[in-house]
Subunit: 281 residues, 2 copies
């Protein structure tokens, strides 16, 4: 069951905002789909975007300037919300870096979060199944990317499920959350005090033991105030060296953590995904 | 005195949000400037955008995807707020189509609005003087455009002051506000009950008696829910025929009133302005 919230013509395609009742989260979840003009005639590759802390399903579609490029390349864009909403679990709205707007895209194991905070499974299986049922998206050509907390989510989703995700990239991702304050706070609460359990959700730890089979693109601004403390791209580079992961990590002087940074390099990311997705049979 | 609220690297240039104490409005006014990379070396033409009802100085810069094109063409972008704020005049915040966020870019003549609602003079003289003092903008190459209420503001500003504005375009403008509910409500309150006084602020009436000396570009979505009642592009076309105004008015099937429409055609508008501004000596 799909509820259409709004639809708008955009670059010859259709920008739509929808909601559905999610099995994984047990809540109504909002999501957004940009269907490029090519999707009027045939199914197209779909590229999923995961947003960062405090964002929602509209942030990327409003601020990243991606539709123009997606229309040129024939890519569908899908953006989901950053957490379940409306639950009023104790503590879910007390801070901007935990709970509502801050799922970290894991499957929580600790009460009360384990009931609804199942965003990893939502992103990995439920949402793509929904998209491929209701929109002209090719199941065999599925890319994922994201920003900040969502960059972490994209890297982890692809590294844990490389058979399901055929391309991956990230803007300013949390590369090593087990060693960073945001990640430690969230993982301790969603996954429990035993840091052993956190390792399965850390991009650098995952990458160090198994390389993703294609090149990963990561852009990072050097003027990003979260760089040293929260993002730690050095850890991702070290992991890539350990496992032999092909990693194209670009550092950009002067750029900060905002969507002004994201929009500057969005065309490069869509081209990266389009090339890898079109190389598939 | 300029206060910098934030600055961000963007497409090799600088996206900045600022504020200053305005003489015209008697309030602190926010505005935004995108300085393209070319402005690091020499003054560039500046293109002013006026936003629509309920918007502010951030709307266009966040949603229109214009910075990419401005960086390519070497255009500075300037966006101001849609009204003075923080006055708490009686009735200034009771409706979304009057008062705060809804100045209609006129110089009000009626109490209490005449004291602060002087957005026409603010846009026409005070803001350009401020920009040309503090940013590398060429005084002789100044364009103006806008959306909806701001499209009306851009057309009226250029038609009233063609010597100051060297190019003009609009997205879904209010073309004939003296004959439309939004315009009648605002003009009656800002300008008084005598509709004679409204004529100097109506794009179609102005255009019908004196053509602007260069081609004006207007884009209008045919799926725009405000089209027939508020926007009335037919009146602008009739006025252009009367005065011989070169008018390129394009109607786009399926497009609505949103920034998804604006972003789809933003590159055409910036190219229109760049061509007219670069043709000047």
């Amino acid at each position: 069951m799909l509820e259409t919230r709004s639809e708008h013509a955009c670059f010859g395609g259709r920008m739509g905002y929808y909601s559905h009742a999610s099995t994984q989260t047990g809540t109504k979840m909002n999501f957004a789909v940009y269907a490029p003009p090519q999707a009027q005639h045939a199914a197209v590759p779909a590229l999923y975007f995961l947003a960062g802390l405090t964002c929602n399903d509209e942030t990327f579609m409003t601020k990243a300037g991606a539709q123009r490029v997606a229309a040129e390349l024939g890519l569908m864009l899908v953006a989901c919300d950053t957490s379940p909403r409306g639950l009023n679990d104790p503590g879910d709205s007390e801070s901007w870096d935990f709970g509502v707007g801050a799922s970290f895209y894991v499957d929580a194991t600790q009460q009360p979060w384990s009931r609804h905070y199942r965003m990893a499974s939502y992103v990995n299986t439920e949402l793509p199944a929904l998209i491929e049922q209701h929109f002209p998206a090719q199941p065999g050509r599925r890319g994922i990317f994201g920003h900040s907390m969502g960059g972490h989510g994209a890297l982890v989703t692809a590294l844990r499920n490389p058979e399901r995700w055929h391309s991956v990239s990230a803007f300013a991702p949390l590369c090593n959350p087990v060693n960073a304050p945001w990640g430690q706070k969230a993982f301790a609460t969603y996954l429990g005090a035993d840091a052993q359990a956190w390792q399965a959700w850390d991009a650098s730890l995952l990458m160090s033991v198994r390389a993703y089979p294609r090149t990963i693109l990561v852009d990072q601004g050097e003027g990003d105030k979260f760089l040293a403390r929260e993002l730690q791209p050095d850890a991702l580079e070290a992991a890539a060296r350990t496992s032999g992961q092909p990693l194209k990590l670009r550092r950009h002087a002067g750029y900060d953590h905002s969507y002004y940074f994201v929009q500057t390099f969005i065309a490069d990311h869509l081209a990266h995904h389009a090339a890898q997705l079109s190389a598939r049979q």
